[in-house]
């Protein structure tokens, strides 16, 4: 018995050491280098950032992020009220479509929106109408907000389910409150912490967004902080430009971290994600109008853009109507060429390695000696998730650029820094919910510490591991903000290839590639749906 304990002690110490070293390499050192570089060179970087172009980018980013946050929270709240407070017909399909944008990268959505509602898009072709201002701030806000609605939805639903929400609302109705009053006096006050945390997360995501502003902003000359950083880093070798990169990067991370800290509880909110099977049933059927609005919303923001994307990818040439005689699979053939195949391989290798590393690092949560350590560790790695991708990329470049420039390894280091939390949070949350009684029962019936871990704790966590690994894999496959700043001649990822193709022109090939990536992501996402059920069941038991 004592023997077993000692072995676990040594193993645990080694594992924690590896985790600490990884944290230092991937997160602490790059961020420290960025801070040293920025603050060490006096006020130069800030002066550079606060020149008119920089100020404009800062203003644009803030306005876009605030609007996206407000719109996404409103949409997510409305959908959450509909699906959680009423019986909705075809609930499963509706949830699937609401959550679908989580799988679709934002630049793919943006492409889809241009093909659906832009000039010469699907809507234009059918009705002669187009969405005014799609290229520019309006389009960026709308596309980002539509993309953030599922995140808001998932977080708010998670918050509702942690309480006996329907009963509390019923108690208000029995006390004489009408639906609106019950919402105002009971549901909303109880949800404030969750709404605030979701708002902080969405604000940070919108500040960090790169793909959508790149696709929709650059043609209109509309720059955000992230696209300005990219422009300065990729297309300018002047020292002044690099100073501005540092200044903007530092300000970006400051704004995001402050926003996340102010709204608080990012960690719990992340861990909470739809983790609890809530009480359904005993509800009234929803009215027809809200159901119609919800379906209309998801079809307009998800269905039509994806359909337009698919039709463009299947059409022989841009400008031809998507009639049977114009349809072809040739674009997919042309999309798969000597540039994109290595890019696809790069993406898969990076995503696979990132998933394995983040899982291994996250698994140490099981070993962390006590919950307080788990919490602190979780907070630290969540920092890596909150830091904007562009800033992580700059920091990694400063820290390892000299020796690792243009290698997959430098991208991998930044990915681990960014996605660690996605591997760690679900596992830590699951470990937190495991009852100690199971482990105690194993020990009392003769299992030593390792045997208990192997036969009781780990088997219970298998679905969580699978889900967390897939989550990291999907996000790494999505990722463009980091890779576009760090890729070299031979290390472009599929996402980078799509964005570069999009800048160069041929929409049919670009969309074909985007469709391929989306299919890949959906294929990875489907098991998540099933795992989610297994997960909920295994943790409830």
């Amino acid at each position: 018995m004592a023997d077993g304990l000692r072995h676990l002690g040594v193993g645990r110490a080694l594992a924690l050491l590896v985790v600490a070293a990884s944290f230092g390499i991937a997160i602490a050192w790059p961020l420290a280098r960025l801070a040293i570089e920025t603050l060490g060179s006096g006020l130069g970087p800030f002066r550079a950032a606060l020149q008119p172009e920089g100020v404009e980018a800062i203003g644009n980013s803030l306005v876009v992020a605030v609007l996206v946050t407000v719109l996404a929270l409103g949409g997510g709240m409305a959908l959450a009220l509909l699906t959680e407070h009423a019986i909705v017909p075809a609930r499963g399909p509706l949830l699937a479509v609401i959550l679908a944008p989580l799988l679709v990268p934002d630049y793919v959505s943006a492409l889809g929106w241009t093909r659906a509602f832009g000039p010469a898009g699907l809507l234009d072709r059918l009705t002669g109408l187009e969405l005014p201002g799609l290229y520019g701030p309006v389009g960026i806000v709308v596309v980002l907000a539509a993309g953030a609605v599922p995140l808001a939805y998932v977080l708010i639903v998670g918050g509702m389910r942690t309480r006996a929400e329907p009963d509390l609302t019923r108690a208000a109705r029995m006390s004489g409150a009408d639906g609106i009053t019950a919402l105002r006096t009971v549901s909303l006050p109880l949800l404030w912490p969750v709404i605030a945390a979701a708002g902080g997360l969405i604000f940070a995501t919108a500040m960090n967004a790169f793909g959508t502003p790149a696709v929709l902003g650059r043609p209109a000359g509309f720059a955000t902080m992230t696209t300005r950083i990219y422009g300065d880093l990729a297309f300018s070798s002047a020292d002044a430009a690099f100073e501005r990169v540092l200044g903007l990067g530092f300000l970006l991370v400051a704004v995001v971290v402050v926003a996340v800290l102010l709204t608080g509880r990012l960690g719990p909110a992340l861990a909470e994600r739809g983790s609890i099977g809530g009480p359904v049933g005993q509800l009234r059927p929803a009215r027809r109008l809200p159901i119609a609005l919800a379906w209309g919303f998801v079809l307009f923001t998800v269905g039509v853009p994806l359909l337009a994307l698919l039709l463009t990818a299947l059409t022989r040439a841009v400008g031809l109507p998507p009639l049977p005689e114009n349809l072809t699979f040739a674009n997919f053939g042309r999309a798969i060429d000597s540039r994109t195949v290595p890019a696809l391989l790069n993406s898969l290798v990076l995503a696979g390695l990132a998933a394995m590393i983040c899982l291994a690092l996250g698994a140490v949560a099981v070993l962390a000696p006590n919950p307080a350590w788990r919490r602190r560790g979780g907070w630290l790695v969540t920092l890596g998730f909150a830091v904007p991708g562009s800033v992580l990329a700059i920091g990694t470049l400063l820290a390892f650029g000299r020796s690792l420039r243009d290698t997959l390894l430098i991208i991998l280091i930044a990915y681990v820094a960014k996605l660690w939390a996605l591997g760690e949070r679900p596992i830590a949350a699951a470990v937190g919910r495991l009852s100690a009684a199971g482990a105690h029962a194993a020990r009392i019936h003769g299992a030593d510490a390792w045997t208990e871990l192997r036969t009781v704790t780990l088997p219970l966590l298998v679905p969580t591991f699978a889900a967390a690994g897939l989550l990291v894999f999907i996000f790494a496959l999505h990722e463009v903000t980091i890779s576009i700043l760090l890729y070299g001649p031979r290390t472009a990822t599929l996402a980078v290839a799509i964005l570069n193709l999009q800048q160069l022109g041929d929409p049919t090939v670009t969309t074909a590639l985007a469709v391929l990536l989306t299919l890949l992501l959906v294929a990875c996402g489907i098991p998540l749906l099933f795992l989610h059920r297994v997960l909920a069941a295994s943790l409830r038991a």
Partner: protein, 353 residues
């Protein structure tokens, strides 16, 4: 004055699963009706239909003579003027006890000061004045439910819906709260529909008891009717301890009969609404309907001392008999005893349970 609640031919289903069917119920003003049934029998569904949280598939619900629910029209819950005490308390985590009890008063349009004053009076009535500034997280289950009851009383409703209000409390606390709840309900003059799976609770507090099984009423009557004249074996078992003896009826008339047990002739009170035929008959016997010290022979197979009384299990030639007598055990397990049968009830419905 019209009935507080009238339910006519109510049917209810979740999706394609029927939960309630053919429910008819009248509750007079001030009357207390218990809904007795095992879990899953439809008690909560019936309460939720009356409250307006569930729309019926068929039938109507009227409150104070006004129709509030049909299969296609629903009055919203807040306009029905009924109050509810929830099984899991359903206290709002962000409100103090005072704010919680003041909530219904505020909704009725009273200014804050009046609402708080009234809430304080109700908290005092429930004996929890000192908890006014606490939130649910700082309260025990019993305290939470006292706040829940005060909130329901604050609604000043003509009908109280009680959804197993004591199901999650410890036994001694439960008895105290049940007594208090019944007292407050009587004092407020409100009618009550009280869902419970606890037969002692139902018999003690209700003017009438409605027995629910698989979404249908199997029997509705006063507590005494339910206890003394259960309709079938299932209801007999649900409404208290019941032994089934097989007796040879020689002669019966009115509510008396002569039967033969063990070759001995015995006269006893024996009735059934459908009449008692001569010959072998299954008879329900409650534990207080027989006694030790009689001419019939049996042996004690088990006994449980419960303080004020003792439960005996006897093996008799007519079947196994549960017996409850005041005081400590008079004999030991295995003892041969004489016993006496005072009363029986021939079940009118012999269907299988």
């Amino acid at each position: 004055m019209s009935a507080a609640l009238v339910v006519r031919d109510l049917g209810l289903s979740y999706g394609s699963t029927p939960v309630l069917a053919g429910i008819d119920l009248d509750v007079a003003p001030g009357e207390s009706v218990a809904l007795l049934g095992p879990s899953g029998s439809g008690k909560t569904s019936l309460l939720y239909a009356v409250a307006g949280f569930l729309a019926p598939a068929a039938g109507t619900i009227s409150l104070d003579g006004r129709i509030v629910s049909t299969s296609d029209r629903q009055m919203p819950p807040e306009r029905r003027g009924v109050a509810m005490v929830f099984q899991h308390y359903a206290l709002w985590p962000h409100l103090t006890a005072l704010e919680t009890v003041a909530y219904p008063v505020r909704r009725s349009g009273q200014p804050r000061a009046e609402a708080h004053a009234r809430a304080l009076r109700l908290l005092a009535l429930m004996g929890v004045s000192e908890l006014a500034d606490r939130r649910p997280a700082e309260l025990s289950g019993g305290e939470q439910q006292r706040i829940g009851i005060a909130r329901a009383l604050a609604r000043e409703a003509r009908l109280l819906l009680l959804d197993e209000p004591t199901a999650h409390l410890d036994a001694p606390l439960r008895a105290a709260l049940v007594a208090e709840l019944a007292e407050q309900q009587r004092r407020s003059g409100a009618a009550a529909l009280w869902a419970t799976h606890d037969v002692t609770e139902a018999l003690a507090v209700a003017d009438r008891v409605a027995v629910l099984r698989d979404g249908r009423f199997v029997q509705v009557g006063t507590p005494r009717e339910l206890y003394e004249c259960p309709l079938d074996l299932w209801t007999a078992r649900l409404t208290g301890p019941a032994s089934m003896l097989t007796l040879d009826v020689i002669e019966s008339g009115g509510d008396r009969a002569r039967v033969r047990v063990d070759g001995t002739e015995v006269a006893l009170a024996l009735a059934s609404p459908v009449g008692v035929a001569s010959g072998m008959t299954d008879v329900c016997v409650r534990p207080d309907w027989a006694d030790l010290d009689g001419g019939l022979a049996a042996s004690v197979t088990a006994l449980w001392y419960r303080g004020p009384h003792t439960d005996y299990r006897l093996a008799t030639s007519a079947g196994e008999l549960e017996l409850r007598l005041p005081g400590a055990p008079r004999v030991g397990v295995g003892a041969r005893v004489g016993w006496r049968l005072n009363r029986g009830w021939a079940l009118p419905d012999r269907g299988q349970p």
